[in-house]
């Protein structure tokens, strides 16, 4: 089965890691491909935290805005590409289907990418999307590098990428915030987004 069709057609949340890796990741000499064509690479989590630290030295607090804006744009490109490809192949992309695709994406990040252990909630009544992440790689990278707690949430890439992904899938602007962060001493990281109508 085509990996994209698998991503958008089935509920992947209960699938085991081996099956997801078999479908979504293709390992070749010198590279790993996601969905058959997107190159992936594993990096030390401390490496990313180190880049943030160096950027802060140069531009101060504005580093957060830069990382967030870049990640949000990256997420948006991914979300809108999925939306367009889905619409071309299957027609209308419903709200329920968007939520299912987002849950599937998050399951893949959780089980194949090592970005953290994710939990996803969509509060239809309050139009809120809540994503909880245990063992966020960004927070863990910060803790490992700095060996101390942060005063502020540090998962800028995850916050921005998930934010942009939803905006791309829903094709609308949303607001978002990291409300809790492992690096700050919380049990897990919590991202909250106001979903559009």
């Amino acid at each position: 089965m085509d990996p994209f069709d698998y991503l958008v057609s089935e509920d992947l949340t209960a699938k085991d890691r081996k099956e997801l890796e078999r479908v979504f990741l293709r390992r070749e000499d010198g590279r790993i491909l996601f969905l058959g064509r997107i190159p992936l690479a594993s990096l030390y989590a401390t490496f990313l935290a180190g880049i943030y630290a160096e950027l802060i030295k140069i531009v101060g607090k504005a580093a957060k805005g830069l990382i967030l804006a870049a990640s949000r744009n990256g997420g948006y490109r991914a979300g809108s590409a999925i939306r367009r490809r889905y619409q071309k192949r299957f027609g209308e992309l419903t709200r329920e289907k968007i939520i299912q695709i987002a849950k599937n994406m998050i399951t893949v990040w959780d089980k194949c990418f090592g970005w953290g252990k994710f939990e996803f909630e969509f509060d239809e009544h309050n139009k809120k999307i809540v994503v909880k992440v245990w063992e966020s790689f960004e927070a863990n990278g910060y803790i490992k590098l700095k060996r101390k707690k942060s005063d502020i949430p540090v998962c800028w890439m995850l916050l921005g990428y998930i934010w942009g992904l939803f905006e791309g899938l829903f094709d609308c602007k949303m607001s978002g915030e990291e409300k809790m962060c492992l690096a700050r001493g919380d049990e897990y990281c919590l991202f909250e987004y106001d979903a559009c109508e």
């Binding site: 531009v59 101060g60 607090k61 504005a62 580093a63 830069l66 804006a69």
Partner: protein, 122 residues
């Protein structure tokens, strides 16, 4: 009673009436957009991040050189000017002007607006 956002947007709207100002934004020190009066075809979030970065980098440079904290950053181009200035400890005020803008007048109006923003945001 107007909400905080509405009050901030009114400050930006009033600023525009001073003339020469084409767009403006209130941005948090960490580069997030708080309020904007900006054209739809500009990515306001990216603009916010870029302008906070400009001021942040200028602060680092002047501090490293022992010249204290800059009051503002002014970027002049053929098509216009971008001016970023602090508006209290939490925010920045950024404006884009046309190339013929009266800089003295714009800075004066920005100073007044920054004080109002500082009162509102702390």
């Amino acid at each position: 009673m107007a909400s905080l956002r509405e009050q901030l947007e009114k400050i930006l709207k009033d600023l525009k009436t001073a003339g020469d100002i084409e767009a403006s934004a209130i941005v948090s020190r960490d580069g997030l957009l708080i309020a904007a009066d900006i054209s739809q075809n500009v990515n306001a979030e990216a603009f916010a991040a870029m302008t906070a970065t400009m001021l942040g980098a200028a602060e680092t440079a002047t501090s490293e050189l022992g010249k204290g904290i800059p009051d503002r950053v002014i970027v002049e181009g053929r098509e216009g000017k971008i001016i970023a200035t602090g508006a209290g400890p939490k925010a920045l005020l950024v404006v884009m002007t046309n190339p013929r803008a009266n800089l003295g007048l714009v800075l004066l109006e920005m100073g007044k607006a920054s004080e109002k923003i500082k009162e509102l945001l702390g």
